[in-house]
């Protein structure tokens, strides 16, 4: 187990390097000059060159990358061009909020998805199975920003039960564990959980249905195991694959909630990312993408290790 862990950790290094290069290059190859956004239209060529030098944009790419990485290692991601604040502070604040939202959505989605999937897989080809399948396909197919708006209309506008915008009362951005803040979390988290519920349910249904037809299930009944015992065996067999799907979903939840964060004005990484894009805020964009990508890499690492811990057949390769 330990050697597997070490091998897996070493594998992360080249991936992380690749991610950093791509993040760096993405912004270089994107069309448009970031300076035009902050320079007055009538700026002279000299003024532009001076600004370029101030941000280090006049140096060769490799040198720019080396400087960028060197600063990153010291926790310095540069300053946002739009606001002038340090990128690191902006990104971590936003990623924190996104993590909170993603984790809440996962807490809602995974148990429900697993339960529904198990139910459908166990009662395969009955009306229960068909109902779950129909519901999960609907959930996956609904555009979630539309669903978000519908929920806002119902619960905020018509019923007035829950707030529709922001992460806290009075537009507060810092999270506090109290009811006033949690109220703001409910609608976006529920909206965000619909797609992963569908995906997890469908995965678990396929897994459970497949495992239940395997010979060892009959062998378990043959040695006198009860239905609950058998379900436990099925769950253990399905766990590794289900876990990897859930890990991936959590990754998507982290980065893929731009639309939801925009609909609910949630001050998370997706929101930050879309602002950075529209304002051509190069350092902020780089920093946000890098942190999200590294989070995704870390997520995969955790899932792989957890999988190996659960399923004895995985460690060997």
């Amino acid at each position: 187990m330990l050697s597997y862990l070490i091998r897996r950790l070493i594998l992360v290094l080249p991936v992380a390097f690749g991610v950093s290069v791509i993040c760096f290059m993405l912004v270089q190859i994107a069309p448009g000059d970031p300076l035009t956004a902050i320079m007055p239209i009538d700026a002279t060529a000299e003024e532009q060159a001076a600004m370029r030098a101030a941000y280090g944009l006049d140096k060769p790419l490799a040198v720019q990358y080396a400087i960028w990485i060197g600063n990153l290692a010291q926790g310095d991601m540069g300053k946002s061009i739009a606001t002038g604040r340090p990128v690191a502070a902006e990104v971590f604040g936003a990623v924190n909020n996104s993590l909170l939202l993603a984790a809440s959505a996962a807490v809602i989605a995974f148990p429900i998805g697993v339960f529904l999937g198990f139910l459908a897989g166990y009662f395969r080809d009955t009306w229960i199975d068909r109902a779950v399948t129909a519901a999960s396909i609907t959930g996956v197919s609904l555009p979630n920003y539309w669903l978000g708006i519908v929920l806002v209309i119902i619960f905020s506008v018509n019923l007035g039960w829950l707030p529709s915008m922001g992460a806290g009362p009075g537009g507060s951005q810092a999270w506090v564990w109290n009811w006033e803040h949690m109220r703001h979390l409910i609608l976006p988290a529920v909206t965000l959980s619909v797609v992963p519920i569908g995906i997890v349910a469908r995965t678990v249904r396929a897994l459970a249905g497949d495992i239940l037809t395997q010979d060892f299930v009959q062998a378990l009944y043959a040695k006198g195991m009860t239905r609950m015992d058998v379900l436990w065996h099925v769950a253990r067999n399905a766990a590794a694959t289900a876990l990897s799907v859930m890990g991936l979903q959590l990754g998507y939840l982290l980065g893929g909630s731009i639309l939801i964060e925009t609909v609910f004005n949630w001050p998370g990484s997706g929101f930050l990312l879309s602002n950075a894009i529209f304002q051509r805020d190069l350092p902020l964009l780089q920093g946000t993408i890098l942190v999200l990508a590294l989070l995704f890499v870390a997520m995969n690492l955790i899932v792989d290790v957890a999988q190996a811990a659960i399923d004895p057949r995985i460690q060997r390769t």
Partner: protein, 326 residues
């Protein structure tokens, strides 16, 4: 207890679904305590279905079962829920054809044996593990102490089948059902497993029903043989009787198809044709279309059951005729 170990009467099993299959047709079979019976027949003859019915493993919604099964006086077909779970693995247990598929891949073999022991004997986890260890020793698995914590994929095929046997015998069942337990194994390993089963049968004194399509295996392991075809028992007797004077043309065909006494270059005596599809209940002799001795009367009605001696029977219209030397 002196009663019969197994008493199957007029058992019929039909599978419903897109098409109906008459898998078992009016089978009666009985076994004394500690007896070893081989169920001999080709694939699709209803051997495995008979075993599964004995354990109540058939899907209840899709199968229709008639007749009665008693094991040690217990009416098996009426068992439900807890009583059924207690019967399975406790009173009767099964060794499957493919040990690689019949063991759960994500639990250690020790855990899988112990799990069964805990369920039936209600002992603690540690005690169950020591029973599992003892069982692995008894099925002659070397360094059982280490193997206890292995997963099925870490063992060889023969080793896995030994584990399967250890698992089946851990709760000391009165009856062991073996569903072609050597078919998936190498020839050399087959012999070892057969010898092991024979030894353990003597040691534990349980009854064994051994399903096989290999007449050589049947001779090796069993005292009695029942020949199955198209969901019926065609002939039953002691192994010696079946080998020396098999009376049913099908039995004779099986014996003739055996590889042993055949000289090199000679054609093997295969039985022509294939078994019937069993979509309808047979109303004549099922073997007649393939039978070299068939008469017009054979397809007119079910063949009479001839019983030349106690516990000896043949279902053939011509079984009464003297055996002609070939």
């Amino acid at each position: 207890m002196t009663g019969k170990l197994v008493d199957i009467r007029n058992l019929s099993v039909r599978f419903k679904g897109k098409r109906t299959v008459h898998a078992i047709n009016d089978v009666s079979l009985s076994m004394e305590q500690g007896e070893t019976l081989a169920l001999l027949g080709e694939s699709g003859s209803g051997k495995s279905v008979t075993l599964k019915t004995l354990l109540g493993l058939l899907p209840p919604k899709r199968s229709e079962i008639d007749g009665s099964i008693h094991v040690n006086g217990v009416d098996v077909l009426s068992l439900r829920g807890k009583a059924l779970a207690k019967y399975r693995g406790g009173e009767v247990s099964m060794v499957f054809q493919e040990p690689a598929l019949a063991l759960d891949p994500v639990f250690t073999v020790g855990h899988q044996i112990a799990e069964s022991v805990r369920r039936h004997k209600g002992v603690s986890r540690d005690e169950a593990m020591s029973v599992a260890l003892d069982m692995l020793d008894r099925v002659r698995i070397p360094s059982a102490n280490r193997r206890l914590h292995n997963y099925p994929h870490e063992l060889s095929g023969g080793m896995r089948q030994r584990v399967m046997i250890a698992l089946a015998l851990a709760c000391r069942p009165r009856l062991l059902l073996a569903d072609e337990p050597t078919t998936a194994l190498d020839a050399t390993v087959q012999i070892q497993i057969l010898l092991l089963l024979r030894e353990l049968q003597k040691e534990f004194g349980m009854g064994v029903i051994f399903v096989t399509h290999d007449i050589g295996v049947a001779v090796e392991i069993s005292e009695r043989v029942a020949v199955m075809y198209a969901g019926q028992i065609f002939e039953e007797g002691t192994t010696r009787e079946i080998i020396r004077e098999g009376r049913h043309p099908y039995t004779q065909g099986l014996l003739a198809a055996n590889l042993h006494d055949v000289e090199q270059g000679q054609r093997l005596n295969a039985i022509p044709g294939a078994p019937p599809a069993l979509e309808s209940k047979p109303d004549g002799c099922s073997f007649a279309p393939r039978c070299p001795k068939a008469l017009p009367e054979c397809t007119a009605g079910l063949p009479p059951m001839l019983m030349p001696a106690p516990r000896r029977r043949v279902a053939c219209i011509r079984a009464g005729e003297p055996v002609v030397a070939e």
